[in-house]
């Protein structure tokens, strides 16, 4: 599965009131529903084990970057939802079978707390946070 699918599955099981396919989506955010969360993979990085020896870093992992976008008609709810997701994902340590993917995620770190993208053309509030995941290959 993709990193998007893994993160969506993990968030759906995190008691955040999010359900995959209903208000939680893989990829770029759909136009509807108004209230939803989307997880989009947008970049990959060279793994350290391509340039460092096995004595310095465990081989067999890859690095992916993804963005979580939260949207809601109410600004306060957009903020609280984004912050709840951030609390679950940021600084996550080694987690085996992450999102029932069968893979180990060694680390997820954010670039910073969620921040506002303002309102879209339908006046819905949007917040985003970017994350870097170090996970087992495959």
């Amino acid at each position: 599965m993709s990193v998007e699918a893994d993160v969506v599955a993990y968030l759906a099981a995190a008691s955040l009131g999010l359900t995959s396919g209903t208000n939680l989506f893989e990829g770029e955010m759909p136009e509807l529903p108004d209230t939803c969360v989307a997880v989009a993979h947008y970049a990959s990085e060279q793994s350290d084990d391509y340039v460092m020896s096995a004595s310095l870093t465990a081989p067999g992992y890859e690095i992916e970057r993804f963005q979580v976008m939260t949207r809601h008609a109410t600004r306060a709810t957009a903020i609280s939802t984004a912050n709840s997701i951030h609390a679950v994902l940021d600084n996550l340590g080694t987690t085996s079978n992450f999102g029932s993917s069968g893979r180990t995620y060694f680390r997820i770190e954010s670039d910073g707390p969620p921040f506002s993208l303002g309102q879209d053309q339908s006046l819905r509030w949007r917040r985003v946070a970017n994350y870097r995941a170090r996970k087992a290959r495959g």
Partner: protein, 126 residues
Amino acid sequence: MTVRVTVDGLDEAIDGLDRGADAARAAASEATGRGASRVAARARQVAPRQTGKLIGTIRAERTPGGSYVVKAGGPGVEYAAIVHEDLTAIHPDGQAKFIERPAIAEAATIEGDIDAAVTQALESTL
């Protein structure tokens, strides 16, 4: 019993190390600057160019601490961060993450350049 050891040239060696450290620091900063300029150039190639204003604000800047940042936006282009982060927007001639993606792509090259520049600076001064 007392053994007296005399080391000749110690002052010169310390001076050499100081010069080497200064040269290495300067070389690393210059290599970082070249890398930041390459990131900025690639960012200008992939940034959305609806009016051209956004592209005109993409630049590499040296910080007081000697590192570099690549920035976009400024007066009249306050929307730069939104364009950068909004993955849902459709751009006919560019893309979101127009700085971050080039930075990731250049990272390994920049690391290599810094390594080579520092090594050369140390070899030429020590």
